[in-house]
């Protein structure tokens, strides 16, 4: 029998998280700080709308680009939150999570051999999506001394004649880093000058703890060269509903719609009805969850500093990214021992790119009570390591 598999796919490694997941699954009593999704249930009024849509028999396909009402609400939201104007008929596409938008966005924009700049540490799917789309991923290693922000200089240094897209994953998973207006302004200047497009993954846009989130699309000359990706998973605690969206120029969105149409047909109908309710009446829920995350964030930063572990203060998402370089172990060794000896699961920074070596991703999508128990165990572990040294 011939090999049934495509080399391009086989050559892509599994996510570093998977291996860890397998070990943790064997340990039912382990406390996990390894989750990349909110601990809150979807607010009841949003779930209720989903249920109601089922009761009314709204169980059919929607239009390929998504419910018109939902696209309109997204356009309203973009105007209200970020002062960006998008035509709901031509410049908004509803997708199956932000993940699908990343995938089809790459497929629509990349010709073979064109390069995509991916700042790391970052979410695990950009690189494989670029490869699958026939592009060439080029990694930019972000630095802790810059609080894991992307600088204009780092961007300039990575650009070649083949560079077409810059992925901008902020607020960032796993570091919690954000970009502020001054950072964005300089990056935008480079993009315009070098004629580069931006795929801006803003799935954590609602979860910032300093200034309100600003999008690169708000910078001069950038809206037409940006695909803005967002969704309902993180802001409204709706991960399982699988619903996201892309906003961008009509030319790009039209082609994305074509791929989406052939591959997916349309995003889940129930989720779309629930999402309309989320955008209409969900601001207060978001505010409340943001406050809760912020309290936990402050608690964790304080706790890690008390332990004497170095950790820059992250202002976005729900992760902190402390350094464990003082122990002279790899992130994976540290995380594996922490799991075996103290039964606390965290994700090694290397799961998000080689430059995550020496760091851990710690999620605070957990109750304070839960975090406290975990912190106590990590504290014991760190003390033991210091005695060993």
């Amino acid at each position: 029998m011939r090999n049934p598999l495509a080399e391009k796919v086989v050559d892509i490694p599994f996510s570093g998280i998977r291996k860890f997941f397998d070990i943790v699954s064997e340990m039912p009593d382990a406390i996990s700080l390894g989750v990349g999704e909110p601990d809150f249930d979807t607010p009841w009024h949003i779930r209720d709308e989903g249920i109601y849509s089922l009761e009314k028999g709204r169980t059919f396909y929607t239009s390929n680009s998504g419910l018109k009402e939902l696209r309109q609400e997204i356009a309203n939201y973009m105007k209200r939150r970020q002062n960006l104007e998008y035509d709901p008929m031509k410049e908004v596409l509803i997708t199956v999570g932000g993940s699908e938008a990343i995938d089809i966005g790459m497929r629509v924009m990349l010709n073979p051999g064109e390069e995509v700049l991916i700042p790391q540490p970052s979410y695990v799917s950009y690189e494989p999506c670029v490869v699958l789309a026939g592009g060439v991923p080029v990694i930019i290693n972000l630095k802790e001394e810059n609080e894991f922000r992307l600088t204009a200089q780092e961007l300039l240094d990575a650009i070649t004649e083949k560079t077409k897209i810059l992925v901008l994953p902020f607020p960032n998973n796993p570091t919690g880093a954000i970009l502020e207006e001054k950072d964005l302004r300089e990056i935008a200047k480079v993009c315009v000058e070098k004629d580069i497009f931006v795929m801006s993954d803003e799935i954590y846009a609602e979860l910032t703890y300093k200034e309100k989130h600003i999008s690169i699309a708000q910078m001069p000359g950038m809206q037409e060269r940006t695909i803005l990706i967002n969704g309902f998973s993180k802001a409204y605690a709706m991960t399982g509903w699988r619903l996201g969206y892309a906003c961008g120029s009509a030319a790009i969105i039209e082609q994305m719609l074509k791929v989406h149409q052939y591959a997916i047909m349309c995003a889940p109908t129930t989720s779309q009805y629930a999402a309309v309710e989320a955008l209409k009446n969900g601001d207060e829920d978001v505010q409340e969850m943001r406050e809760a995350y912020n309290q936990r964030r402050r608690y964790l930063i304080h706790a890690f500093r008390e332990m004497g572990l170095e950790c820059f203060e992250p202002f976005g998402a729900f992760y902190i990214f402390p350094s464990i370089q003082e122990f002279g172990m790899t992130s994976e060794e540290f995380a594996t021992r922490l799991l075996k000896e103290e039964k606390v699961a965290v994700v090694p920074g290397t799961a998000f790119g080689a430059c995550g070596e020496g760091f851990l991703r710690i999620s605070y999508a957990y109750s304070l009570e839960n975090l406290k128990i975990a912190i106590e165990r990590i504290g014991d572990f760190v003390e033991r390591l210091r005695r060993e040294q």
Binding site: I17, V24, V35, N173, R298, A345
Partner: protein, 160 residues
């Protein structure tokens, strides 16, 4: 800060002050000062404990009583409300819009005790026109807390 502080202690009045300071990102001294102010201004009216008496095995009967009254000249409902809330077995008294005037929440040891309170004390008051007593059979949720349901984390343990 006040609103956030109050929101937290409304759910957990026993929270450690140091921890409060950390999670709100302020100094502990500021927390203490703010709490004192809230107490003086009557914003914080007490620190109570929520107890599920059913689990203690102590028999308690709770009832909600709708009361219709004749308001008194010059004093409206306040005077009659005061007469009612002075009884220690009365938990809460609310002035209500709609079909009746006062809603009285009552707690007693036995069914008989509650009914005799209603018939002997409440309905004999001059201004009370009528009462309707509803006994509480089961509490599902009280003070924003769901009783008898434990939080279960059903998420996958590690996700990207």
């Amino acid at each position: 800060m006040r609103e956030q502080l109050l929101k937290i202690i409304e759910r957990n009045s026993r929270i450690d002050l140091k921890e409060l300071a950390v999670i709100l990102g302020v100094e502990e001294a500021d927390i203490i000062e703010e709490l004192q102010k809230c107490e003086q201004e009557g914003v914080i009216c007490g620190y109570h404990t929520m107890i599920d008496w059913d689990k203690v095995g102590v028999e308690k009967v709770s009832a909600l009583i709708e009361v219709r009254v004749t308001p008194q000249r010059g004093q409206g409902f306040d005077k009659i409300a005061e007469r009612i809330y002075k009884y220690p077995e009365v938990h809460a008294v609310y002035l209500i819009s709609g079909g009746y005037d006062l809603l009285v929440s009552l707690e007693g040891k036995t069914l008989r005790e509650v009914s005799s309170f209603v018939s002997d004390k409440l309905s004999t008051l001059d201004t009370v026109i009528s009462t309707a007593t509803h006994f509480i059979l089961k509490k599902y949720k009280d003070h924003g807390t769901i009783l008898e349901k434990k939080y279960e984390d059903t998420r996958e343990k590690v996700t990207p």
